[in-house]
Amino acid sequence: MSNTAAAAPSTNTGKSSSWWLIAPGAIWMALFLVAPILLIVYVSFWTQTTFKIEPTLTFKSWQTFFGSDTYINSLWTTLRIWLIVLVTTFVIGYPTALFVGLFVKNKTLSTVLLVICVIPFWTSFLIRVLAWRPMLGKEGAINIILMKLGIIQQPIEALLFTELSVVIGMTQIYVVFMVGPIAFMLGRIDPNIIEAARDLGADFWRIFRKIIFPLSLPGVVVGGIFVSVMVLGEFATAAALSGRKVNLLGNIIVTQVGSLKWAMASVVGVILTVVMGLVIAGFLRIVDLKREL
């Protein structure tokens, strides 16, 4: 770093002042982020009785989790919805990213398009979730439009309060996190490479497969990590759009805390953390982000 050399005369005071500047923030994070998360692991081994919880270590809550169909099912539901939303955000988001990042040559226009995509985030998250209720309902906008167009005769009832509605809602809310990083990576592709490939007679599909997609892969990985972390930690969308039919791990944590079953909530919290860790590690195996970015 060049300014280290420039500030060389005041190295001693500089070092200690760095520590004083960083200490409040670092301590804040250690106390209110790291300690609480470690505490989740610890409390998951506490003994829970109907009325209270005691710090006597036991595996009982863990056994309850893996012995219960309800909990195991919610683990599978979480993984299923995560995977579906990951695929839908990718499939729906990629063409938009392709257009914004690669096909729009004008930088201002591509920035404007990205800003248009981000503006909905200025509405409250819960309002955006709730906005799907009048869209998807039996007398909702989608059914009305489809019936007016004569595509369907009877309203589709499966649109709201099902797993489908949760997937639709989550896809709309999180797809932008996929579009952004991919568009960013596509925007960095040197047009000369594509030009050269075209001059050598490659068709678009081949250019896409051999050049464009591999170069956009780091963006896909970053977007995938964003979407995964948010979807795995979700509970509000499921609560609002599934009519309590879809129970994600997040929903279990909320209900367990609501009934003061702290040990069980912690077990689910640890499992959620492990799942997230595995997913992120898996993504990072695809691409070495430190090298690519």
Binding site: M1, T4, A6, A7, S10, K15, S18, W19, L21, I22, P24, G25, A26, M29, F32, L33, V34, P36, I37, L39, I40, I53, I92, P95, T96, V100, F103, L113, P120, W122, T123, S124, L126, I127, L130, A131, W132, R133, P134, M135, G137, E139, A141, Q172, V176, R198, F204, M230, G233, F235, A236, A239, G250, V254, V257, W262, A265, G269, L272, T273
Partner: protein
Amino acid sequence: MESRVLKPILAVYTLLFILFLYGPFFVLAILSFQQGPEGGPQFPIIEWSTYWYRHIFGLTPPSRVAPLPLGGALFRSLTLAFMTMVTSTVLGVMSAQAFRRRFRGSGVVFYLIVLGMMVPGVLTGLGMSLLANNILGIERHWWSTAFVTHVVYTFPFAFLVMLAILNRFDSSVEEAAWSLGVSPWRTFRKVTFPLIFPGVLSAMLFAFTLSYDEFSRTLFASGRDQTLPLAIYGTFSVEIHPNVFAFGVLTTVFSFALLAVYAILMTMSVQRAKKMALQEEIA
């Protein structure tokens, strides 16, 4: 060349994509003008009216639809967002300032801070309520436990914004001030701070809006008293009425007003910087 065919197709697709992002909100906005109190949260619109907007402000005669518990919630949300904004911006500026020099453990501290925005709210919220309830044995409140959890979430954003600003910062002006014998604190106040002010403004905007909107952490970490997002969440389980939609429109308008204030302040600070540069040139 296929791109001649492909480009218009992708353009139309992008248009549909934007419609997908905005559609639900437009439907919600339209339905917020439903007739009341009999009109439900669905089509058709029986008659256009501003009934549900008046309902929010308590200007309608009492009906079977209970008013949203917004008064206190709005106050709490704004206060909490303000506290969070000030704290995380101060922490963000300090930490980013520290990162201008490499120090032992800077890599670890960097990840420690950024972790705060990556860990889902369910986990930080759960951890914080465990800490308060089972270890410290204190009651949870929006101004205590929820506040510190909000800062854990917004501080990384402020930190990253400030880091980006300070990376492009020319430190020779500071060194000039130091070599003239100006104290470090005075240098920061008179030289550094005015230069990084646009970044500070962005950090404040991030922190305020993220906290104002924050839901999952608040659900766990705040006590009985609700903030605005919690009040909306409370309507999820019961039958919804168009008053929630009207409220959604109003919060969105509020967010855009905030964005406008930010834009105005930003333009002003950029213009002032330009003016100063011009004066220097003349002198």
